[in-house]
């Protein structure tokens, strides 16, 4: 597996710049996740409060608003745990280049949700993230300098 990791530079070397972007994104997500973990993200209903603030003026489908109000806010703790877990998963996935394609889709979904719920100030950031995740999924960014190359060689298929 280690040999494949290094071999990937030889065969998929044109993806090295993307690999660096992937690793940078992984590090960014890890930082954000650690901040949440060490803070009170799980203990206090910050997520619920934030959503409750933006909900009235939200430009989203009705079913999304109802879902958010009735389920996400009521069970904010579970959703906070899921959000934190997914951020850690994306971080580890991008850092090691493992199961990058499916995680990129998850990242895409999270970024879309954050774009809707975060309010006006972070719009540009999340739009950029959406583009980055989409690109990661498209090129299969885990294949260069990542563990995905090992599985890509043996299994092929759309997920590697």
């Amino acid at each position: 597996m280690l040999a494949s990791f290094i071999d990937s530079v030889r065969y998929v070397g044109h993806l090295i710049p993307v690999a660096f972007l992937r690793i940078f994104m992984g590090y960014y997500y890890l930082q954000q996740a650690m901040l949440k973990f060490n803070g009170d993200f799980l203990a206090r209903p910050r997520l619920a409060a934030q959503i409750a603030d933006v909900l009235p003026g939200l430009n989203a489908p009705v079913w999304y608003k109802i879902l958010t109000e009735r389920i996400v806010i009521q069970h904010w703790q579970a959703f906070a745990l899921v959000a934190l877990g997914l951020e850690f998963a994306i971080a580890i996935s991008y850092l090691f280049g493992y199961v990058v394609r499916p995680m990129a889709f998850i990242g895409l979904l999270i970024s879309i949700n954050y774009l809707i719920l975060a309010g006006g100030s972070s719009d540009e950031l999340y739009r950029t993230f959406i583009a980055i995740h989409f690109m990661m999924a498209w090129v299969g960014a885990g294949r260069c300098l990542g563990l995905d190359y090992y599985f890509f060689k043996r299994r092929r298929g759309v997920w590697w």
């Binding site: 973990f37 799980l42 877990g85 850690f88 998963a89 580890i92 493992y98 199961v99 599985f151």
Partner: protein, 344 residues
């Protein structure tokens, strides 16, 4: 896809483990002080008075109440002693009068100040022990299903009637405090030799010597036994569960034994002030009402029982319980009881 799902499971598993580990390592995360209370299962469970008392106390104390299950009164002291310092008990509830000797030997206890004027006359003499304060009491007697026992026994000797053969559920005195109470009651009324002679004749009447009160009472509830030895207040519990219940408490001419339940604050308490405030709540009129209604025992504060279903129970003649055999004496009696069982 398998890799993806396994990866997600591992990440979430690791995260949950990390959260639990962090909570465990750092109890001050929740900055409120923690009041650790040890009590028997019957007190702590959803059907006992524990949850109400906890909720009520937490609204005003700016603290967290943490209950620990001591299982039964006999093992309570051992449980309290064996816990590590980080989980040291602040308050212990559930000792009966036979456990106090073990409690005293095992640990040091703080004196608790109470206003004896509020207490019922039945329990006021017990307040001389300042380390252990009674918080409820009960009368022990036989209960019967009226429909299944047309002729109700009125004395201990009436229980030897062949009609009751294999119909009585009792408790093992080695493992159950009501069981021990029955044995000591018998010896107090009849004397030791005659008491054991009675037990020999009584053996065929007993369906089961249950390991604890729940087993023998449960069999009685399920009509597997017609008569059981229990607390007089259990009648109220029976009626609450089933308004058509025909359970009756039987007053005996010989008089009845009493059981008192005590609480104490160990000298090793970490939140001793909070423990004293909690004691105050348990002994308040409101707290006593809840203890009475959920524990199905009589309150120690007078006039709490007025206008309640418990007030409608028949009056029972009680016997003097001030002389309590010491541990060595009880061991000797229990050994003699075991020999009797073996010879059956």
């Amino acid at each position: 896809m398998k890799h993806f799902f396994v990866f997600l499971i591992l990440v979430f598993g690791g995260l949950i483990a990390a959260i639990l580990f962090r909570q465990n390592q750092d109890p001050t995360r929740d900055a409120r002080p923690v009041l650790r209370i040890y009590a028997p299962s019957s007190f702590l469970k959803a059907w006992g008075p524990g949850p109400w008392l906890k909720e009520k106390f937490e609204t005003s104390c700016e603290c967290r109440v943490e209950y620990h299950d001591g299982q039964d009164a006999a093992a309570l002291v051992e449980r309290v002693k064996s816990e590590p310092k980080s989980r040291a008990a602040d308050l212990v509830l559930g000792f009966n009068q036979y456990d106090l000797e073990i409690a005293h030997k095992g640990m040091e206890w703080k004196a608790i100040k109470v206003d004896s004027q509020n207490f019922d006359d039945t329990v006021r003499p017990l307040l001389s022990r300042t380390s252990f304060i009674p918080y409820d009491w009960g009368v022990l007697t036989f209960l019967a299903h009226k429909a299944e026992v047309p002729v109700l026994p009125k004395t201990l000797d009436d229980l030897l009637n062949p009609d009751y053969a294999g119909a009585i559920s009792l408790q093992d005195p080695r493992t159950s405090s009501p069981g021990l109470q029955f044995l000591l009651w018998l010896i107090q009324i009849k004397g030791e030799e005659e008491g054991f002679q009675f037990l020999k004749k009584f053996a065929p009447q007993v369906k089961v010597w249950g390991a604890n009160w729940s087993t023998s009472y449960g069999l009685f509830q399920k009509h597997q036994a017609k008569i059981t030895f229990s607390y007089a207040a259990s009648v109220v519990a029976g009626i609450q569960e089933d308004p058509l219940s025909d359970i009756v408490a039987l007053p005996f001419a010989e008089g009845h034994p009493l059981q008192y339940e005590f609480l104490g604050i160990p000298s090793t308490c970490q939140n001793c002030d909070l423990a004293e405030k909690f004691v105050g709540l348990v002994l308040s009129r409101e707290g006593q009402k809840v203890v009475m209604e959920k524990n199905f025992m009589f309150p120690v504060i007078h006039q709490v029982m007025q206008d309640s279903p418990f007030d409608k129970l028949p009056q029972f003649t009680t016997i003097d319980m001030t002389v309590i055999p010491n541990l060595a004496e009880r061991e000797r009696i229990l050994k003699k009881w075991s020999q009797l069982r073996r010879a059956e």
